[in-house]
Structures are given as C-alpha cells and as structure tokens.
Amino acid sequence: MSEDIKVDKVMDLKGMPCPMPIVKVSKGIKDVEVGQVIEAITTDPGALADFPAWAKTSGNEILKTDQQEDLIKFYIERKA
Amino acid sequence: MEIVYYIILIPMVYVAFAVFFVGTGVRLVKLFREPRNPTTLQIFPDKRPRWMWALHDTFLLPTVRRHNPIFWVFLMLFHISFLLLIIGHLELIGDFRIFQIVQHEVFLGNGFVGLILSISLLFFLFRRFASPNRDLSVPEDYYLLILLFLTVFFGSQMDWARRWYDYGNLSVVEYREYLSSLLYLKPHLSPDLTSSGHSFMLVLHVFFANLFLMFFPFSQIMHSFLSLPMNKLRRG
C-alpha cells in the first residue's frame, strides 16, 4: 500500500483476460463513495494505456501509477 | 353475375398483371440500386467457382435437404411443379415447339402437377400450425399459402374435370381463345367460357390468381428473384 494515499478498496486484476480489468474496475468504482480510492493491481502492460484512458472517459482520476517489476498498481479516486 | 365474371376475367386480370410487372420491376430496380455492403458476407470455407455454388444453393436447397429432408422433398416438388405450371400456362396461350420436346398433351402433367402443388401447399400450411413454426409465422405467411392453395386448387379442378371425370365442356380451345384475346388486348369472353357449369372454377381460379399476383411484389415471394443474389453473398 502506498504511504500517502488512503486506500478504501483493493482489487486484484492480475492475469485477467481482455477486457476484464476495465470491466471489473468500472464496477468496483461504483462500490466506493465519491472521493474514496481504489487500488487496482494488474500484470497487463496494456493497462498502462487502458487505465488512464478509462479514467478520462469515465471521469475518474488516477492519483498514482506504481510500476514495479512484475506488478502495476493504480490508485484511482472516484470523482463522479 | 355476368358483370362480376366480366370484371374478374378481364379488367382485374389487366390490373393484376400491371401491378405484378410494374411492382416487381420497380422494387427490383430500387433494391439493386442500394449501396453494396462494404464488407464480404461470405461463409467459409470458400468453394469455387463461387457463382456455381450459389446456383447450387439457390436451386437445390442443400441446407434444407440436410436439416429438414421431408420439407425439402415437398419444397423441391413444389418448385419444380410450379415451373411446369408456368410452362403449362404458356401453352394455354399458344404452341411452343420448345416445350414439346417432351411430347405431351396440353395441359401438361395429366393433372398431377396441380395435385402435387395442392398437396405441397397443404403441407406448407399445416406445418405452420405446429410450434415452433406457428410462433415464427405472421399472417402473410398464411394468407399467401391459402391464396396459392385456392388458386391452384380451382385451377386444378378445371384440369381434373376434363381428365379425371370426363367433363369436357371447357377445353383448351376455350382457354386459348380467352387468353390470347387478353394478350392481344382484344379481350373477349365467349359464352362457352362463362356459361358452362364449370365456369365458376375458372372465375375463382383467375380471381385468386389475380390477388396473388398483386400481392407478389410486396411479399416474401420476391425470394423468387432475390434468392440467387443472396446466396451469392453467402458464397462470397
């Protein structure tokens, strides 16, 4: 977990087939209140383009992208 | 009564044929002037020559043969008989040497063409009474089948009357006189044609045929013309 961001929900999207990470996160974001944050963990390199584009389309905000060796973590704040 | 006979046998026939030819022609021209689909609609594997396979699919109905063989038998019998029926009617206008390659008496088929058509039409109609075809059918499917059945049945009666129960008052001579008078735009009804005991068969036959012809261009019977281009789309 990132130190400066308070995470309200963690979603494990590792190794999911296309387009499940986006589908899941779209659903998941509705489970938290506006202003709360989701941590989405994925292994898909494509997610690095998909998530920012999804956030822009759906009107949410990616606070931070944490790229590790095998994992990619997105911290997404529900805006709308 | 005479006036009704007259209207059905002359003006209505002209109107029916006008609607049939103009309607079909205009609709086909309009359909074929629509823009083509931007992508192929082919089903694979690809088989060549494609147009040959499209003809095969159109005239031999292989998909029906495979999935519903009984229906296929009736469909083939029906469509072949329908073709013979058209030839038979052309011969009621005049002599065509080409059709007499196989020597036969006019009207061809010894009455069996009409019989096969009638039975096939009843089969087509009755199969729609059972689910799931009943649930798929809409009124026009029944109307068309009933209309065709009535047309064919009364038409066949005229044929059967002569051949099977020796009623010879109305014969090919009278029909030829009537049909050619219509064709040469000098319509004429001889008293032999309208006063015979079997005249009502003729009148009903022509009446239902007129209705069918007028409905044709606006119905799914347009598949007569569209089946080939559609099968070509599937073959690529």
């Binding site: 190794g15 999911m16 087939p17 296309c18 387009p19 499940m20 990470p21 986006i22 779209s26 659903k27 292994t43 898909d44 390199p45 494509g46 690095l48 383009a49 998909d50 920012p52 584009a53 999804w54 822009k56 389309t57 759906s58 790229q67 060796e69 095998d70 990619i72 | 359909l31 629509e34 083509r36 689909n37 931007p38 192929t40 609609l41 089903i43 694979f44 594997p45 690809d46 699919d57 109905l61 998909t63 029906v64 999935h67 519903n68 229906f71 075809n133 649930d135 798929l136 809409v138 009124p139 499917d141 109307y143 606006f218 799914q220 347009m222 598949h223 569209l226 559609m230 099968n231 789309l233």
Partner: protein
C-alpha cells in the same frame, strides 16, 4: 417514446439499409429451417432465440416504417411501432445473439442474423439503452488512440518489464530486443491485446522464427464492433491502419481475437499490407520450417474450438489443424464440419458483460459444453480471447475437467531451441 426520438432512431435505421440488408429484411419466409441453428435455442429451447424470431423483432419495425404495406395493411406482416417495448425486445434479441452466423449455414437464402442484429444494436445506442460497459470500453479505446503520447511512456516501460518473460521462452542473441516496438520498416506489425498472455508467447515465436516484427501501440480488439457502433468501429480500426502505413509493414498480424481479426481483415479495405491472424502466421512458420515444435510436449488428447469470427466468418480453418497435428498425435475434431461448430456463447460482446450475464452465458452454451465433453479431450484449445474466457467459465460451471489453452501459447511452450 416521443416523436423526435423515434424520428432520430428511424434515421439510424434508414442508414443501415443497404442492398444486402434489404434483401435480408424482404426475403425471410419464416420457414423455420434455422430453428436448430442457434446454440441458445438448442440449449434453452425458447422460441425467442430462433434466428427467424430474432429477425422479426427488427423486421416488424422495418415493415411499419419502410414498407408501403406498413401504412395500408400493417397487420398482414404484424408491423410494429417503434416504442419503449420494442426497444426492450430489440435488446433481448441483440444481446442474446453472439453474431456467430451459424444460422446463416442453415438458411436457404443465407440471411445474416448478425447483420440484422446490427440494426437493433444501433437503435439501442441511439436510445442510450445499450449495455453501458460496452460503450465505456469503446470510448476508452477511442480515447487511448487520441492521446497516444500521454500513454506511450508507461506502455513502453510495461513492455520492457515483459521482456524477460519472453526470453524465458526463447533465448535471443545479445543486443537483440525481445519485444521491438515502433520499428520503421519492419515486415510484420503484431497487434496484441492488453494482457501479457497475448504478447509474451507471440513474441517468443516471432523471435524463434527470426521475424522482423514490431509490436503495435494499440490493442487489436474493436469494442466499437461489439457495441455495434460503426463510427467508433472505424476510428479504432483506422489508427492501426495508420500505424501500419507509417511503419511501412508488409503484414499486419492480429492476435487471438475473433472480432479484431474479422474487422481488420474484412473492413480495412484495400491496403498496402496483408492482414493475417496469428494462427495463419504460426502455421506458415511451421510449414516453412522457421520454427520447430516438440510433439511430446502435450501428451493428452486435444480438441480445438473454432472461433466463429475466425473460422466460419473469417476463413481460417485449415491452419489451426495443421498446427495441432504438428503438436499432437491425438487431435480430435469437435464438429464433423468446422462451419457447423457451435459458438462458445460469449461472442458479440456478451463476455465483456462479465458477471451480469454469466447465468445466461452458461445456460445458453450447454450444447457447447456437451460438444467439448463428447470429444473426450483433456486440452481444449482455441484462438480467440473471447472464446477462451467463455470456455474457461463453461469449464468451471459444467465441471468439464479440461484445460483451456490458447493455441499460440501451446506453440510457444512447445518451441524447440
């Protein structure tokens, strides 16, 4: 529904009426030969899933507004008004149809149900009653193309991180790049999906074959086509075409995704490059001896699910069989003829609806599960992401006890150095 909305929807309808569409709408005789064709009907037995019934939902509206008959004698064809109710029926018809076109093999005229359903899908978009998630996916995809520069850096790092996975499968010479990106003048542009599973095995095989290839920035799948939005479909397609032209590649190779392959192959028009599926490319490598595979790798019986958009609708039928016969001595056909293969039940965007329609997807694909089990195979392979997801769901739902695998990853696993 108010008049203005209806007029707008009818305008959308009108826009779909080309020659083929009119043939399809004018000709059906409701003969019922298509009854047995649909996997949903075969599995669930409800009339509303028969292809001809689905057509009629659209056709009734056509009869009402686009045929003279609809004005003077609407009842003859049961012409129906475009209403909220009609939209509900359209939804039911369109989103229970996977667009597999199996019914087209049955129809004596070859009526294309998928094409008729595209009207339904477009009307639903017009009325904003389409599945929200599909539009979101399409919009996300469009957005990605618009702001490429924004995502480029992150994407490239992500790809770099994958390279060691590729090298695990196939060692490369020092100085070579395991996943080349943006290579001007490459022979082959590989368009993958977002997931690593779509990139790693493919990369290993390209490297093994010594291919001069490059990975696309974009993902292959066309969500525009799923939701049935022609404008978005074109947008998503065009940027791959543009990239291929910019890099001057000779071939665009589409990953294991049925929709992506069919859209690219059939909708891209005449281009200076060839479009091929990854299955075709792999079979070519094997034929030409550019890669070698170890037959002892997979010992259990294998069966192959033909993805509808790739086989029946895309023409890639012999190639997977060629590959499988090189991978195994026990390859078992599922259907006597590939064009009769049952759809997995997940096409047309249904899988992307996720949990929402899981119950329907499982019930409607019972025949598929049965078909797989009848082969007795232990490995179920396919060449489409969508099918793979759906087949995996079926596998656990029906406890089929098979292993669902991508054909490309089987090839990658069996590569001989």
């Amino acid at each position: 529904m108010d008049q203005k909305t209806r007029d707008e929807l009818l305008k959308l309808f009108q826009g779909k009426l080309n020659e083929a569409m009119k043939f399809y709408l004018e000709t059906c005789t409701r003969c019922g030969v298509c009854t047995e064709a649909c996997h949903v009907y075969a599995s669930m037995g409800q009339i509303k899933y028969i292809a001809a019934y689905r057509h009629e939902i659209v056709r009734r509206i056509y009869k009402k507004y686009f045929k003279g008959r609809g004005k003077i004698w609407p009842s003859v064809g049961e012409a129906r008004e475009l209403s909220e109710m009609a939209l509900e029926e359209l939804y039911e018809a369109a989103y229970s149809c996977t667009g597999c076109r199996r019914c087209m093999v049955y129809c004596p005229f070859g009526i294309d149900t998928q094409m008729i359903m595209s009207i339904a899908k477009l009307l639903l978009i017009g009325a904003h009653t389409e599945p929200e998630i599909l539009t979101l996916l399409a919009d996300t995809s469009v957005e990605k193309g618009k702001s490429l520069e924004l995502f480029k850096e992150g994407f490239l790092t992500g790809i770099k991180n994958l390279e060691k996975e590729v090298v695990k499968k196939w060692k490369i010479e020092a100085g070579e790049t395991a996943i080349p990106v943006d290579v001007d003048g490459a022979d082959l542009l590989y368009v993958a999906l977002a997931g690593a599973h779509s990139i790693v095995p493919a990369a290993a095989i390209f490297n093994a074959a010594g291919e001069n290839w490059t990975l696309s920035f974009f993902e292959a799948v066309n969500f525009g086509a799923f939701v049935g939005d022609p404008t978005k479909t074109k947008l998503i397609l065009d940027r791959i075409v543009k990239e291929a032209k910019r890099l001057k590649v000779k071939e665009v190779c589409i990953c294991e995704c049925g929709t992506a392959f069919r859209v690219m192959k059939q909708l891209s028009g005449k281009q200076p490059f060839e479009v091929s599926s990854i299955t075709e490319v792999h079979s070519r490598y094997l034929r030409e001896g550019r890669i070698k595979v170890d037959k002892s790798k997979f010992k259990e019986p294998i069966t192959y699910h033909d993805p509808c958009q790739i086989a029946r609708n895309g023409g890639v039928i012999d190639e997977p069989r060629y590959i499988l016969n090189r991978l195994s001595d026990d390859f078992r056909e599922m259907s006597p003829e590939p064009k009769y293969n049952w759809c997995c039940g997940g096409g047309g965007g249904l899988v992307a609806l996720g949990e929402d329609n899981l119950d329907f997807r499982m019930k409607s694909a019972k025949v598929k599960a049965d078909q797989v089990q009848e082969t007795g195979a232990k490995i179920l392979t396919t060449a489409c992401e969508n099918c793979h997801t759906q087949l995996s769901d079926l596998n656990s739902h029906y406890e089929m006890g098979v292993e669902v695998k991508f054909l490309s990853s089987m090839v990658a696993d069996a590569l001989m150095q």
